[in-house]
Amino acid sequence: MSKSVSQIISDLESGATTSVALVHDCAARIDRLNPDLNAVLSVQRDDALKAAEASDARRKSGKPLSAADGVPILLKDNICATGGPTTCASRVLENYRPPYDATATAKLRAAGVVVLGKTNMDEFAMGSTTEWSAFGMSKNPWKTDHVPGGSSGGSAVAVASGMAPWALGSDTGGSIRQPAGFCGVVGMKPTYGRVSRYGLVAFASSLDQIGPFASNVEDAALLMNLIAGHDGRDSTSADVPPEDCVAELRNGRLAGLRIGRPRQFFDVEGIDDDVRSVTDGTLDILRREGAEIVDVNMPFAEEYSVAAYYVIAAAEASSNLARYDGAHYGYRAKDSANIVEMFSRSRAEGFGAEVKRRVMLGTFALSAETFDAYYVRAQKARTLIKRDYDNALKECDAILAPVAPTPAFPAGEKTGDPVRMYLADVFTLSLNLAGYCGLSLPAGFSKSGLPIGVQLLAGAFGEKGLLQTAWQLESKLGIAGSRTPAVFAR
């Protein structure tokens, strides 16, 4: 299935296809490709078919719930959905079946969107490659011995290989934008508070945000419209009026737009030549179309975001993951003599290596003797990083940056060296620390044929304008749909 969501919607409207046929197509593709790619952890085929039949009946009677009624979707496996497991790709939650839907899931269902299943990820969203999934890594469809990125790698692979026309992920430090870049799809991190986190299994509560994966900007905008909005069940969700990201999507203009080029991001050592030429080429296109490229200064975001992020995210994770104690749900170690032993052994046997590393790091940073030196210092650095964005966005309408220093890299390359793995997140972490919105857009290919994305970043609640700019840039880049991974032909 290589059709965009907007094409699928017009096929559903004209009667050229049905939701049942779409679910069958997606499920067949998952059956065919997933044994190799391992992008999908569970498929709720029967429930999806029932939902699809109901959707087709609504269409027939002229009463669809929304334009997207009947379109199938896959959800990252940290977004709760009743009717199947939500595992966070962890042994701890291997048999966990949530008794409620996440707000994002409920909103999709209310619009008639058909939840088909759940996608692979790094355990509890901690990682940049999906290699930390307890159920085996996902593979990059463009080169299956390479990582797809992470932590929402399964969602990126699923969309890139046509297992579903769109998917949801979550982005705590780049976990939507980086796998989107590595797999050649569009991925968006909304502003903190734009999408409810109710039912998103918490990793780092001041950074986490649910967002869309799609094969083009218009489809991402359609999905944003469905999931955004204030929610009384998430006290950190923003009480701001919802914006229609679709109606005026094509009304943006590149001419006269000011695009910020953060000088320090481009000076980072070790940026791959292909990433550099694709990013510079994108700036050339923007310049040619009449945009003004403005050099902006973001020294703290480049130099200190890895250090500040790994303290703050780990601290929040150590606190959030305290709930996995084997008492109420999740994995419990057998035959413990007392309750503390049950806690300590359940967690030791249930968590994988990266989760343990971050829980340890976070607990260290929050310990009484190191709290000021590590946690408070990182929070102050966060202030400086946010200030970098505020200053830069006074001089430009959007910021353009690489997604990662390199395209997708071979599996196993960084798993033995946590610091090297963390440093590869240098271009995505700061946006979450600031709380602002951004997206990753396919912009070119490496000489070896791997996709390369660029990021467009904007301020709080700037999604509508950002998507307009991205749509214009996408049409000038001419990349979307120009090449598909070889698996697509299968």
């Binding site: 079946r97 008794p99 409620y100 903190y192 508070g193 009384g232 006290s235 950190t236 923003a238 130099e303 200190y304 250090a307 500040a308 790994y310 303290v311 150590s318 305290a322 008492a327 109420h328 749900y329 999740g330 994995y331 419990r332 007392n338 309750i339 032993e341 049950m342 806690f343 300590s344 967690r347 030791a348 968590f351 343990k356 590393r357 829980v359 340890m360 790091l361 607990t363 260290f364 310990s367 009484a368 003797e369 190191t370 000021d372 030196a373 590590y374 210092r377 990182a378 929070q379 102050k380 650095a381 966060r382 202030t383 400086l384 946010k386 060296d417 946590p418 610091v419 440093l423 620390l433």
Partner: protein, 103 residues
């Protein structure tokens, strides 16, 4: 164990790893203690970059959006039924979660 406040940690030794593991409620093997000591030392070595910053007068940011005291109407809605709340329990008895003896 209570340790004095410190402004800098250069190395995370095995003793500190065992202390942090206890606070984290993580039972570690001796191998893991050695490995975490090495790995966390490498990570802390990078994080210590933050010491270069002049943070005088800089307020900490704990949350990206300026929200305080978010209230909602106190409306009674049905809660999760007992059966659903217990549906994922590793062990249960008489409508309660069952755990090893606490006291």
């Amino acid at each position: 164990m209570s340790l004095p406040k410190v402004d800098h940690v250069g190395e995370i030794g095995e003793e500190r790893v065992r202390h942090v593991a206890l606070l984290s409620r993580l039972e570690l093997t001796d191998d893991e203690v050695g490995r975490f000591a090495r790995e966390l030392t490498a990570v802390i070595h990078h994080i210590n970059k933050l010491e270069e910053l002049d943070l005088t007068g800089v307020e900490p940011t704990s949350h990206p959006m300026p929200l305080t005291n978010v209230f909602r109407q106190d409306v009674v809605v049905p809660s999760l039924p007992n059966e659903a709340a217990l549906s994922n329990a590793p062990e249960q008895r008489d409508g309660c979660f069952k755990v090893p003896q606490i006291i």
